[in-house]
Symmetry: C2
Subunit: 492 residues, 2 copies
């Protein structure tokens, strides 16, 4: 990798101070050193002059032009890279039929490396363009394709956890591991490949990935738990997404007291475990997960699409659990964590509506509605959603000391957000861009009119923004995406 130049990032920056508070600096400078780490943060540049600083006289300067701000890169704690071609295609299915109808046929085709290359290159470029600087990927059962995904993330510069999917049971004949032994051997093969390209798992890390309890034999779960113990490689899996699935786990593992206990008995429930979904956890499971310090990936778009349920995120946060956001492509339709923030906000509102007056849900299709006022126990705020997308996700990955916010010593995993201001001269026919056509390809769809506060602008971005507002993205100080057009990155 090329050596980085010392760089000064100049302009507004915004990040999450804590779960409920944004730290908004309207004029600042963040100095990033040759190793991609934040060397200093200066909050006082109101005159827009860059103060001289010893050793930084010749640093490169990246400035916000127009209205915009630097924001920490997003962290997607749960995404199936291989399922990307199915994004948006799920019909009215629910989890178990969705797997058989849409998912297993697609995943099985990753024995074709050319196909895998096309899809994996695309999804990594796409997630980067949406500002995702770290992603926890599920691949497929195929070792070569999984290794290719690791290579692609390494080359494109995305911070990634790469999981070969382990599934030796209760899956179709055409798509499963031959045995617990081959499942383990293949998991090890992917770990060794990643060690060969990134010896300290500094940017790309393997992650042990039993698909979910129903598709793993007890022998396989136990051997993967042992692999974790031996190697320290983290773990990701699914839990408690759907009621039929939970019943299936009960039937398959009669000696376990709960779904979480299945993983715990196998040594798979540790502080390095990422549990996707957690929609229907029992109080006992919540306690167990908290005791083990395991982490939660909240995937609201997927949970709504497949009508799995609404995970009670505010309650889980109140209990002290650690939570990030996951797009769960392709149960989720979008690879954008910004869109997932909206889904988290709206899912929390639906949970509020349904949980505050169960009696108003009349079984004839009449909707629930809030009659009890305890919004803050259920509804998420924009600040909380952004916290889950950054600091929360960092904690889920055990990377909170390196990413998720802007602090001296942390890595520069960041995105530059641009918003467009509608000019006072804006009127029909004039100011409508090239050839009299509105240049919405360039501006994106967020319109700022000038009366807005910084908080308003953040709200507009979260509810209305898309990849057009993500002008540039860096991981560990390296530029990994910049959009084209006249708002594309300019440096001096």
């Amino acid at each position: 990798m090329a050596t980085l130049e010392k760089t000064l990032y100049v302009g507004a920056f915004i990040h999450c101070q804590d779960l409920t508070t944004l730290d908004i600096c309207s004029h600042g400078i963040i100095g990033v050193d040759e190793s991609g780490k934040i060397a200093f943060i200066s909050r006082e540049t109101k005159d827009k002059q860059i103060p001289a600083r010893e050793g930084w006289e010749n640093a490169k300067v990246v400035s916000i032009t127009g209205l915009g701000f630097f924001f920490p890169g997003f962290i997607d704690t749960h995404i199936h890279a291989s399922q990307y071609p199915n994004a948006g295609i799920f019909g009215k299915s629910t989890l178990l039929d969705w797997l058989n109808t849409y998912t297993f046929p697609l995943e099985s085709s990753f024995s074709d490396l050319a196909k895998a290359s096309k899809i994996y290159n695309r999804i990594v470029s796409r997630t980067l363009s949406h500002g995702t600087t770290t992603a926890c990927y599920y691949a497929t059962i195929h070792v070569p394709a999984t290794n290719l995904l690791a290579d692609i993330c390494h080359a494109k510069g995305q911070r990634a956890f790469i999981g070969r999917v382990c599934m030796d049971s209760l899956a179709p004949d055409y798509y499963r591991d031959e045995s617990a032994a081959t499942s383990l051997a293949d998991a090890k093969a992917c770990i060794e490949h990643i060690r060969s390209i990134d010896p300290h798992f500094d940017q790309v890390s393997p992650i042990i990935t039993p698909r979910f309890a129903p598709s793993c034999s007890t022998e396989s779960l136990n051997s993967l738990g042992q692999l974790h113990k031996d190697t320290g490689v983290p773990i990701q899996t699914h839990i408690s997404e759907n009621l039929q699935e939970i019943q299936l786990v009960k039937d398959l593992f009669p000696n376990s007291t709960s779904y979480a206990d299945v993983y715990d008995q196998a040594g798979l429930l540790t502080s390095q475990t990422i549990l996707a979904h957690c929609v229907h956890l029992t109080p006992e499971e919540r306690k167990l997960i908290k005791t083990r310090q395991a982490k939660i990936s909240h995937c609201p778009a997927s949970n709504t699409a497949l009508t799995s349920g609404c995970a009670p995120i505010r309650s889980l946060l109140n209990e002290g659990l650690t939570i990030g956001l996951g797009t769960d492509v392709s149960g989720g339709y979008t690879p954008s964590i910004l869109a997932e923030c909206r889904e988290a906000l709206f899912t929390s509102r639906h949970l509020f509506m349904s949980s505050s007056s169960p009696s108003s849900s009349d079984g004839n299709g009449n909707g629930g509605t809030p009659s009890i006022k305890r919004e803050d126990d259920v509804k998420l705020s924009v600040e909380e959603a952004l916290y889950l997308a950054t600091r929360g996700g960092a904690k889920v990955c055990n990377l909170e000391h390196r990413i998720g916010g802007f602090e001296v010593g942390m890595d520069w995993d960041a995105q530059m957000i641009g918003l467009d201001v509608v000019g006072d001269d804006y009127a029909a026919g004039e100011g409508e861009g090239v050839n009299g056509k509105m240049d919405f390809l360039e501006t994106g769809i967020v319109d700022v009119f000038g009366h807005e506060s910084w908080d308003d602008n953040v709200n507009k971005w979260v509810y209305g923004g898309d990849d057009r507002n993500t002008l540039a993205v860096w991981v560990k100080g390296r530029l990994v995406h910049s959009r084209g057009g006249r708002r594309g990155l300019q440096t001096s």
Copy 2:
């Protein structure tokens, strides 16, 4: 207005055959005459040769290049044009505090015509760029600004209903009509202005707009009902959005048997009435609305944002009520009907989850989940959402014989949708657009990989598409929007 050229629209076209079925023609020609009406539809052009047709030898040709299709223009049956600057800004508010905190202060500022011009020009261009060919607008109480909105729609070519907001009661002193008499006079003034620019209300129509029962005196409601009777001008208002609001109506109108009855007693509940929200209607109200043949605008984004509730759309459809979609900017965060389709789909899924097992909602924030299998009574399909967005909206506006689908004799209110196919040569570094940068500004965010059916592509568009996929938009045969860039409209 310039005379139109006879034009042949060549390529795939898709529209709603009925509530649950898409009519997909993968190769066709639609001929549109000089008056902007569909003269013929030919479904057989598989060899991509355009067959000769007498009288059409010299017609202009607009062809789909690449993967794409013509689709009917969207119909937004409920949008507050004046509230657009607040899109995405609502915090954790609910209806009544939202009005006082965010909405009335903004609307009152439309006494400033320069400000109104900027905002109205922008929102009309924006909705056109999202494929909205017909919009039912609420303006503000101001006559000059409301007339300006009509002028802008007329000039830009959008089909629109323009409502001056009538509110002479229970609104802040700084923003309300002086009396029922001035409210009526101002409503009439706007009707006369629109008559002066579009004598037959052919493209731009006035619409009588009592804001909602709580902000209108009985005298005002009665006089507006009489105005409707005298003029035949249609009506739009809000109903049954939020429980506090419903209680307020009960308190304010003790002589009415229901919220719907308030409007009915005033002569405001007719086949030309558009009722926004309808979240908590009683069975009696549903019957009354059906008897009067009044129409419903479903606004799911807004209803979720303000935690108003989930309107039981499938039940209302099953009862034979007429329903379209409304963005309800800025209760709703988006001016895109395509995004509103997603919200309708997800809201129906949340309603399914909360209504099918009320007992699983434990009051501790644990989510509801489906245990009873009757998805089709609650969940909407993509086809149904698109029907609401087109044919349903047309019926809501009493324009089903002119717009909403592709039939001979109907107006050419249409959009050209383009989707991008990821090439087989796609790989890191290559095929990533200008200067090695992914050209996602150009392609939009929907990726087609080549294995998809037409149905799959429609699903991908609905769940992942945005204005970048709307390459061009026509109203009554007139080009009213086309996007820039290399995918911009090409004609011969």
